[in-house]
Amino acid sequence: MKRPNVLMLGWEFPPLINGGLGIACLGLGRAMAAHSDLTFFLPKTDPDFAVGNVELLGFNHLDPPATSVGQGEVDLRRFASVETIPADLLPYVEPGEPAELRRESTATATGPPPPAGLAAFGPDDLAPFQSDTLYGDDVGEKVYRYARVAAGLAESREFELVHAHDWMTFPAGIEIKRRTGRPLVLHVHSLAYDRAGPDARGWVYDIERAAMEEADLVIPVSRYTGTICTGHYGIDPGKVHFVHNGAEPVRAYRSEKPFPEKMVLFLGRLTGQKGPEFFLEIAAKVLEGNRDVRFVMAGTGERLKELIEAGAFRDVGDRLHFTGFLNKDKVNHLLSMTDVYCMPSVSEPFGLSAVEAAQFDIPAVISKQSGVAEVLTHARMADYWDVDLMASHINELLTDPAAHAAAVEASLEDQRNCTWDAAAGRIVDLYRAELGVC
């Protein structure tokens, strides 16, 4: 069988930006290289960072063209009509990321709407990719410039399909499909629905919806997120096919806790989507009956201060600890001491951190509103708001060694299915079955 020639549109990418989206794109890209000829268009790349058999084309390293490249004019207002950015502009920050993303509260920043015309790109279009961050107040401008540059470059390249990752690259995907006629695949790692809530509307939502309507194939990272694409966004279920993320193997280790209490870990941005308030409630509930537990919230976010005060008010400040932002080594150190992982996300497309915890032999208690619940099928689950059930799951795992051991054993089986290679294979199968590519 012939290898498909794929043009991927990415936004975050290691080692410059190590958010959840970047990690997923890297893992997927590595695995896809075995099945396809792959080029990644990225706003920023590190020239010293190579991925075997994948062409990484960073717009921060393009020479400004002497004349305009590409042609065509498209009006972005066709599908994006709202003038503020309602979504969390740092949607993929996890603890373990570089300083440039470590900003406390840009959650509801407003910015200028994207300019209307998508003309051929020139030197001005490349300037935004020299800046340190990919988000910020001018994210709309960057998204627009990215689309102009990507579409201009795509016109002169050979590929069979374009595969875009999340809303920042969706306008580029649509424009490339329009100019080249190649099929458009959208990979949905996260939606405005997750980041900003079910009621969120705005131009990010508009882009997501318009793009999914125009796409030939939509690949959400879980069945859960697929139901949001079809239900909430009203996308034709016939073209929505989920593919679970994989997890890179890690060198897991265990280390001795320097204190006698058990430890329960929350890892993630302290923002509404991740349910940190529920974690606090769960902690208070568990501590009512069992003081021999320390709860740790690793990460930062706009809810940090109110969470700290709420913890003090609930009288658990000596058992609920906030570490702030942590680098990957520190996160791993925490994992190596953790007894139970808790992920009470309100809406979590996937939730890779629960798999990472499983790799450290930590049983997870996760919300039913998460994609990872479909992968860690043996994990204990509850609705994110069901604090009582979450607490009783945690109590059981903390106090019953046999239950703890059985949960660890079962999660080993779950992890076996969770590889990027399996994900890449399924994606290529979808290319063939749904798009007739190769």
């Binding site: 320097p258 204190f259 006698p260 940090l304 201060k305 700290i308 008010f313 400040g317 570490t323």
Partner: protein, 415 residues
């Protein structure tokens, strides 16, 4: 013409280091030694040394006619013993002029009375012993941390043998009366209360360097005139010693002011008295019925700088709740470490007040925010809990040594 009673408070806390979650169980040292040393060095150079020298000279110039009172928190004395014995010696020299009365307070500059009378008493006795050891003095007048005052405390302090106690002259308690009299809480026998004249005190403590103030620049003569013009028995000018040269910098002219003030005050007919002389020399002019806890801080003159938000409530409650467990260990070092965490400044740093008061909190806070102050404190507290649990480990409550009389514990000198 009223008498003048000057009193200065000198205190520095043992600030905590940025103690993280990863330190819990690993690191039994909570204090930021480098920072604390740096602050003591700085304040010594800017305030303690030059102010001590100045007041020593004024005492010599005016014979016995210039008098003042000082209180040094036990934790400051310790820090000076450790980092700057020369500065402590200069305090001793100042006291040796005979013009300085030393007052008593809680050794740890704490706010523990409500939670534990026994702990309060322990800290007062510790401070008495320290003042005796360093200065050879027996204080007769008491001032509590930040001038905390209320009826119940006044009665307790009288029971500890004090003749007088300082308080903020709070308008809502004075009810229109002047602070320039001695008063008495309704539930005490003979203890007299000296109420701070906050208007005149704050002229020197806060407004002196403010060039936008209509009375700026304030001269010794002008201020002496105001004092002489007051009615009543005694004008109580109480403030932090650090207002001289530290909160108000040298270039504000604060040293020149104090150098000239005694002569100007004496020339205008005022007489300087120490707190115990005021107590001995005047009858109480009325009842000061203070049910609520008052202090000299912020605009609200209450405990709100230390006890207003949930972080402050929890931190203070949890550190004091360890009293029995700590005493049961019979370990002087552990007891001392726990006691130092009661110092009021830790809770002051956790204040989330805004406005003018918030700006003052901000000025003193050695951390980026109130939340950081709380987290560092609670992490340190958690470590203390872990250590207590380990010390207790296996033996169980029955096997513990009986709590030895707390008053027998003395923190070991660190030098």
């Amino acid at each position: 013409m009223p008498d003048l009673c000057l009193y200065f408070e000198a205190h520095q806390p043992n600030r905590l280091k940025p103690y993280s979650f990863f330190d819990i169980g690993n690191n039994p040292f909570y204090e930021d030694d480098a920072l604390n040393r740096e602050v003591v060095e700085k304040v010594s150079e800017k305030c303690y040394l030059p102010a001590n020298a100045m007041f020593r000279e004024l005492a010599a110039e005016h014979g016995g006619r210039f008098k003042m009172a000082l209180s040094l928190s036990g934790v400051l004395i310790e820090q000076l013993e450790h980092h700057r014995p020369d500065v402590l010696a200069s305090f001793v020299e100042l006291h040796d002029t005979g013009c300085v009365e030393l007052l008593c307070e809680t050794y740890y500059h704490s706010l523990c009375f409500r939670a534990s009378g026994a702990e309060f008493r322990r800290q007062v006795e510790l401070q008495r012993a320290k003042i005796r050891e360093v200065f050879g003095a027996e204080p007769k007048v008491f001032r509590h941390t930040e001038l905390v005052y209320f009826n119940e405390l006044a009665a307790f302090v009288e029971g500890l043998g004090f003749e007088g106690m300082l308080a903020e002259g709070v308008d809502r308690i004075l009810g229109g009366r002047s602070p320039n009299h001695l008063y008495r809480s309704p539930n005490v026998g003979a203890l007299k209360t000296l109420t701070r004249n906050c208007r005149l005190s704050d002229d020197l403590a806060f407004r002196f360097a403010d060039s936008g103030w209509s009375e700026h620049p304030l001269t010794p003569e002008k201020f002496a005139g105001w004092c002489a013009g007051e009615e009543g028995q005694v004008v109580n000018l109480f403030m932090d010693y650090e207002t001289i040269g530290e909160h108000q910098w040298r270039d504000s002219g604060i040293f020149e002011f104090w150098r000239g003030f005694p002569a100007a005050a004496l020339a205008s007919g005022c007489r300087f008295v120490t707190p115990s002389e005021a107590v001995a020399g005047h009858d109480a002019a009325g009842e000061y019925d203070c049910h609520e806890i008052t202090t000299w801080a912020d605009a609200s003159k209450d405990l709100s700088p230390w006890k207003a938000n949930p972080m402050q409530f929890e931190a203070k409650k949890k550190i004091l709740s360890l009293e029995k467990a700590v005493l049961a260990q019979g370990d002087p070092e552990l007891l001392h470490q726990w006691s130092k965490m009661q110092t009021s400044d830790h809770f002051y740093y956790m204040s989330t007040k805004g406005g003018d008061d918030g700006a003052v909190h901000e000025y003193f806070r050695p951390y980026p925010s109130a939340y950081d102050a709380y987290l560092y404190f609670m992490n340190s507290l958690s470590d203390l809990q872990v250590r207590l649990r380990r010390l207790d480990g296996g033996r169980g409550a029955a096997a513990r040594p009986a709590g030895v009389d707390a008053l027998n514990y003395r923190p070991a000198r660190r030098d």
